[in-house]
Amino acid sequence: MTGSVEEFLTARRGTGRPLLVPYVTAGVTPDWTNIVRAYADAGADAVELGFPFSDPMLDGVTIQEAAGRAIAAGTTVRGILDEVATLDAGVPLIAMTYSNLVVQRSVAEFCAALAASGLRGLIVPDSPLEEAGELADAAADAGLDLVLLAAPSSSRARLREIAERSRGFVYALTRMGTTGERGEISEGAARLGRELKELTDRPVLFGFGVSSPARAAELAGHADGVVVASALMRRLLDGARPRELGAYVASLRRALDQGAR
């Protein structure tokens, strides 16, 4: 796979395909890289890899539990990167983690290490526009797309700046709250998708609360696709194997493709 996250996703979108980005917490099980492959084989357009952090401010109980399990198993950034380096999923891999792991040595060193192991993108939910300047430069230098979050509470002026400065795609939050399946999708989600689509040609993906194939298809109608995390991690924590998680991603894929018809 060559090119940036944004080039890859834009090309896929160009075929009329709603975009699907499933998530897995790296290190959550010994065979987590098989989960990444299963996602790719089931029709994922990119895969989001959570680098577990002890204090995940924006995560609900499911991702917290997955992160806790991964940390307890001894997962480290270095260890994840070593495994990623041997992984050719055929779709871009995007890291998701919190600022504390990013600033350990320097943001430049972190970004360079991610890129060297083959990651193509980075999401840091507790690094908003104001704090992302140095990180954005370091990511650009390393050839990583730094994905920014947009929220229902963001003003139009902020949305414009987020859309302008985000790379890869714009991560639109369906609602005010943490990751997780519970809760309804706010009315603001449709508005947010619409506004972002007016402001940018970059792909716009919805995340948070994409709890079912039907919900995924509904949301994709307001943007270019979805990120699905807790629904998958809940199944994993309940014992699902990579093959079963792949089957769930395939069901999301079908619902998205049918919805687009």
Partner: protein
């Protein structure tokens, strides 16, 4: 009473030149620390709170209401009490700023009355708070009741067990106490959970942060609301001491709010500023730069960047970070940070109780413990004057130290 002269004249006029710890500006930076590391969802709320605080802080009517409440409701100004017998034993002059005497029993009320007034002015209906020892939770529940607001307090399950009395007090005051069962089940996790809840309720809820931590404007705003400690103490020292300024100003540090408020009153003087941390939660001493709970500061963490759990006999100091301004004061050498262990702390609590008839909180006893050690070793020269902020009273801790008696 001892031979030390003491007039009891304790005026509280603010001396000039006391403003050395200033406004961190729009980015909320104290040197390289501070900032606003929160999800995009919370950025508008942070902007709104900063704007509301700037307006309120410059509004004489708001300041007047706050001053009145601090005076007639919270019981300010608090006295500066000489520790007569302990001073004689240690060969120094030890003065205690008596935050243990304010309503609810700790300095937390200063900040909470300010933030609750601000939340009320902003039209918010509910206060959210995290709490460790329960003092901030009790203060928040109290201010909420006073202003007719609802209060939801997040508290680690482990802290709920060891601070049962404060949980009951919050219940009596009508607050909802939400047990936090994740992670270490202490203050750090209560902060995470309060933040998560805030994201989903930001329209009608106001997050009343309990220390000089969190995203901008909290570290600055909380320090400003606690500045009253330092300004009163400075004026009281000016009225009582022959040289006007103590040699040392000492306060305990968890997140560091009573220390920040105290230091703010003395940063522009020649006094040496000393923050005292719990050995098992000493971010200024053992921490590395990192980002936690919305701000960049010194954080206790492992080599991989996972935040460590803090351990202290004092629940209120069980925090793996330190306020960003403290990290900056440390780097610049304006303040220094020392650690004491649990054993020294319990001994200090008992010694102060038995020499002065004052039962200090375990948190505050950290500051006392360091002064006892430093005076004993000669690090604090004989004859020195030490102003120590006694941040809270120890009633809540009696049960937990009973085995040690």
């Amino acid at each position: 009473m001892g031979e030390m002269s003491w007039s009891g004249r304790q005026g509280v006029a603010v001396p000039p030149g006391a403003r050395a710890m200033g406004d961190p500006g729009a980015t909320g930076r104290f040197g390289g620390y501070g900032g606003r590391y929160v999800p995009e969802s919370l950025i508008p709320a942070c902007h709104e709170i900063e704007a509301a605080f700037r307006a309120a802080w410059g509004d004489p009517e708001f300041r007047g209401r706050l001053d009145t409440l601090l005076r007639v409701y919270a019981g300010r100004p608090t006295p500066l009490t000489p520790a007569w017998r302990l001073s004689r034993e240690l060969g120094i002059t030890l003065l205690l700023k008596r935050e243990d005497l304010v309503h609810t029993g700790s300095h937390k009320i200063n900040n909470v009355v300010g933030q609750a007034l601000l939340a009320h002015r902003m039209g918010k209906e509910r206060l959210l708070a995290e709490t460790g020892a329960g003092q901030h939770g009790v203060a928040t529940a109290t201010a909420a009741a006073l202003l007719g607001l609802k209060a939801t307090v997040f508290m680690g399950e482990r802290d709920i067990e060891r601070q049962e009395l404060n949980v009951l007090r919050m219940n009596v005051l009508g607050a909802e106490v939400v047990p936090v069962t994740t992670g270490s089940r202490t203050l750090k996790d209560a902060c995470n959970e309060a933040m998560r809840h805030w994201v989903s309720s930001v329209d009608d809820s106001y997050y009343c942060v309990g220390s000089v931590m969190g995203p901008h404007p909290y570290p600055w705003m909380v320090r400003e609301f606690q500045r009253v400690i330092g300004e009163e103490a400075r004026a009281q020292c000016a009225a009582e001491l022959p040289v006007g300024v103590p040699d040392y100003v000492v306060a305990c540090v968890g997140g560091g709010s009573n220390a920040a408020g105290t230091f703010a009153g003395f940063a522009g003087t020649t006094a040496r500023l000393v923050g005292v941390e719990a050995e098992g939660g000493a971010a200024a001493t053992f921490g590395r730069a990192g980002v936690l709970h919305g701000f960049r500061s010194l954080v206790l963490q492992d080599e991989h960047g996972q935040v460590r759990e803090a351990h202290s006999v004092a629940a209120g100091l069980d925090y793996p970070g330190i306020g960003p301004e403290h990290a900056h004061l440390r780097d610049g050498g304006r303040a220094r940070y020392e650690t004491v262990n649990d054993d020294e702390v319990v001994k200090a609590l008992l010694r102060l109780a038995r020499t002065e008839g004052i039962v200090a909180a375990l948190e505050s006893s950290h500051a006392v413990a360091w002064v006892i050690r430093a005076a004993g070793s000669g690090e604090i020269a004989p004859g020195s004057t030490v102003m120590l902020t006694l941040s809270g009273r120890g009633d809540k801790d009696i049960a937990s130290i009973k085995e040690l008696l």
